[in-house]
């Protein structure tokens, strides 16, 4: 059992939790993820590690309430326990051999982009970041990002905060204004990663994306996290989660992620009913 040491809302639908998991905290690096199970009947879901503290043996996660499991998770409080919490899984971000990078986060993906920023920043690299949200209410982690970046830009779809527009517009502007990024990291909704990769490809800048596939075991055993990269089947849990953004088949990934949409919605309703009762 893994104790929840902190549970707080970052915005209407995004939560942060700090979990006591000493073995995971001892080993984890930026870019890796964990798989958790809320209770005895729970499904296994992957979440990227947001932050960790090796000394106190804690791991932080940030999640958006999207389906049945994240809703269940959001109802837990400080002092409650998770049934299972395993990791760190996947390969850590490779931050070697680069000096100037741009990190782009979209929505809750911003949380996943944060540890990469932090690690690059702590290893004395020049890091800029763009975070995109639909509107002001949804903005998260602004201060955290300011602490670990040289320049930090917030974009909102409706212009209610930061600049109005899409992250890709800002990306293109930055590139054209002569920021010589050696690499771009993009983490967020699949369509966002798709279009960021297109822009990067156009300007010949290497781009890395982090794929949040549906997973069960996270150790290469089931194959449900598979995706097409450069025409080949790869497993997000053991070959990724990061891949060359210009090689990923996003359209297929988008459809695969919708696979259980209907069941999720129904379960969600059942769950809500149970909670209401």
């Amino acid at each position: 059992m893994y104790e929840i040491l902190l549970a707080e809302k970052l915005n209407g639908s995004v939560m942060k939790m700090v979990i006591s998991a000493p073995l995971v905290a001892k080993k984890c690096l930026a870019g890796q993820f964990i798989i958790l199970r809320v209770d005895e009947v729970g499904e296994r879901i992957p979440l990227t590690i947001f932050d960790y503290d090796r000394k106190s043996g804690t791991v932080s996660i940030i999640f958006q309430i999207v389906g049945a499991t994240t809703r269940k998770l959001s109802l837990l409080k400080k002092g409650d326990y998770l049934f299972d919490f395993v990791g760190p899984l996947g390969n850590p971000t490779n931050t070697n051999d680069i000096n100037k990078v741009l990190v782009i986060g979209g929505g809750v993906g911003t949380a996943i982009a944060f540890p990469i920023c932090k690690e690059l920043y702590e290893s004395k690299k020049e890091v800029d970041a763009i975070a995109g949200f639909r509107n002001k209410e949804l903005v998260i982690l602004e201060d955290d990002f300011r602490d670990v970046t040289k320049q930090f830009f917030i974009m909102t779809d409706d212009g209610s905060y930061g600049e109005k527009g899409l992250v890709t517009e800002k990306l293109e502007k930055l590139i054209l204004s002569g920021s010589n990024y050696e690499r771009v990291y993009a983490i967020g909704p699949l369509p966002m990663m798709k279009f960021v990769s297109k822009v990067c490809d156009k300007y010949n800048i290497p781009v890395i994306v982090s794929m949040n596939s549906i997973m069960i075991d996270g150790t290469g055993m089931c194959g449900c996290c598979r995706l097409l990269v450069d025409g080949k089947v790869r497993f997000a849990c053991i070959d990724g989660p990061e891949f060359d953004g210009t090689k990923v088949d996003y359209d297929e990934a988008i459809k695969r992620n919708k696979m259980y949409f209907k069941e999720e919605r129904e379960k969600d309703c059942n769950l809500l009913r149970r909670i209401d009762e």
Binding site: T69, K72, F83, D84, V86, M221, G223, M259, Y260, K262
Partner: protein, 454 residues
């Protein structure tokens, strides 16, 4: 007298519930079957058993209805009789060597073994751990369990590390409830806990902990039994459509995550018409699980003929009885989807067997212009697994062969001294009993190695 048949669950119940299909012998049936044993002096059956259970001796106790003594005889050689009695391919092992089988039917050794396991009182005398060296076991499948149990009886301080949230490996997430009830597996694991074995879940060797961590924590030897994880796909168009599963994923969803049980959260969705590809035991398990998970229809597609099917005859028969349609000499060449990437059908081609080649094998070859489309909403690929890919990243000091399996010497030791391995990660996908044998032999090798070293 012929072999006593085992009663089976009512066919209608079989199609709708996950209850065990083979019901086991009652006392009279056991006594009748045991009485057929000739108690041969040279015991050919024992040589057919990979862990050398003294079969005539335990059957002799059964003849006197002394189940507890029979259990003690089996326990000397096997730690998991309740499991082996159910899933071992006895017809090619002990029972194949039975003298009775030459003229008539061999003794139903597996069924008797199961009777013993299910009915013995199991009052063990548990030896206190003698405070011998610490040994780490990676993986809680049959190889890890038998290595852990054997080491524990030898007095070692044993800890099992498992990546998943439940212990048992394929016994838990692969082999379905209706062939191997999970309570049997949990009982065997509880038995090991009582023997003093410690079990730690949610630890992925190579990620959560590595070899140096184990050495730092004082472990003197390591046994790797992490199974053959990575599922194969065919490489045909449409394999990433929604509703295409590896057998591992499908069986894990159903068996481990209980996706077809409404109380559990893991989704499975409406299976509709299901096509299972493959001809092994895994394909049979997947087909029969799909039926029970309310598929509209289940068809199995296999590129060779019935005679070449690697699955046990009994499993094929059970699948047929339950209503799985068999399409032999048929191979899928494309999975067809709609605009939302949901499966609508499988394009298949008919096959025929070529004339025997130099090795005597008849290869399946396509029959020209024989393509047809099979209606389907779900496709399950049961065409084998490759070795667990996490292992290769752990340390280059552990040598792998070309297939990615761990190489071992005659003592089950890998190229890294003190690290042993066994089970599917060494042999490729094989059987429960082979994995158990490897675990047990490794335990004795570890004992020898540590005695020499310390």
């Amino acid at each position: 007298m012929n072999r006593v048949e085992m009663r089976l669950l009512d066919i209608d119940k079989r199609k709708t519930t996950f209850e065990e299909v083979a019901l086991g012998y009652n006392k009279k049936e056991m006594l009748d079957e045991a009485s057929r044993c000739l108690n041969c002096k040279n015991k050919p059956c024992v040589s057919g058993c990979l862990v050398n259970i003294d079969i005539p001796k335990f059957i002799d106790f059964l003849k006197k209805d002394n189940v507890d003594e029979a259990y003690n005889v089996i326990s000397k050689s096997s730690l998991l009789p309740g499991i082996c009695g159910r899933v071992c391919p006895q017809e090619t092992q002990c029972e194949a060597k039975c003298i009775r089988g030459i003229k008539g039917e061999s003794i139903a050794i597996g069924r008797l073994e199961r009777y013993v396991a299910d009915n013995a009182a199991k009052n063990f005398v548990f030896s206190e751990s003698e405070g011998k060296a610490k040994v780490a076991i990676i993986g809680s499948g049959p190889s890890g369990l038998s290595c852990a149990g054997t080491l524990s009886t030898l007095g070692y301080d044993v800890t099992v590390f498992e990546a998943m949230h439940k212990f048992g490996g394929v016994l838990i997430y692969g082999i379905p409830e209706f062939r191997l009830p999970k309570t049997i597996v949990s009982e065997e694991i509880e038995k090991l806990e009582k023997l003093g074995v410690k079990f730690i879940k949610n630890v992925v060797f190579g990620k959560t902990i590595d070899i140096n961590d184990l050495i730092d924590e004082g472990y003197k030897a390591i046994f790797i039994g992490c199974g053959a994880g990575l599922p194969n796909f065919m490489g045909i168009p449409g394999e990433n459509l929604n509703g295409v599963y590896s057998a591992n994923e499908f069986l894990t969803r159903v068996n481990l995550m209980k996706a077809s049980d409404e109380r559990y959260d893991t989704p499975l969705g409406d299976l509709g018409d299901v096509v299972v590809v493959g001809g092994g035991n895994v394909a049979m398990d997947a087909s029969r699980c799909a039926l029970r998970a309310k598929a509209k229809s289940v068809s199995l597609v296999y590129r060779r003929d019935f005679e070449q099917m690697p699955a046990r005859k009994e499993e094929v028969l059970h699948a047929q009885e339950e209503g799985v349609n068999f399409n032999v000499l048929t191979n899928p060449c494309e999975i067809l989807g709609d605009e939302l990437d949901n499966i609508v059908g499988v394009k298949c081609v008919k096959m025929e067997l070529s004339a025997p080649d130099s090795s005597g094998r008849r290869r399946p070859v396509e029959i020209k212009n024989s393509q047809f489309i099979k209606k389907a909403n779900t496709v399950i690929m049961a065409i084998g697994n490759n070795p667990n890919p996490l292992i290769k990243n752990i340390t280059p000091a552990i040598k792998l062969n070309q297939k990615g399996c761990i190489e071992i010497d005659e003592n089950h030791m890998t190229s890294l001294p003190g690290v042993f391995a066994g089970g599917d990660i060494v042999t490729g996908a094989a059987t429960v009993i082979l994995a158990m044998q490897a675990g047990k032999e490794s335990a004795y090798s570890i004992d020898k190695y540590l005695k020499n070293k310390l």
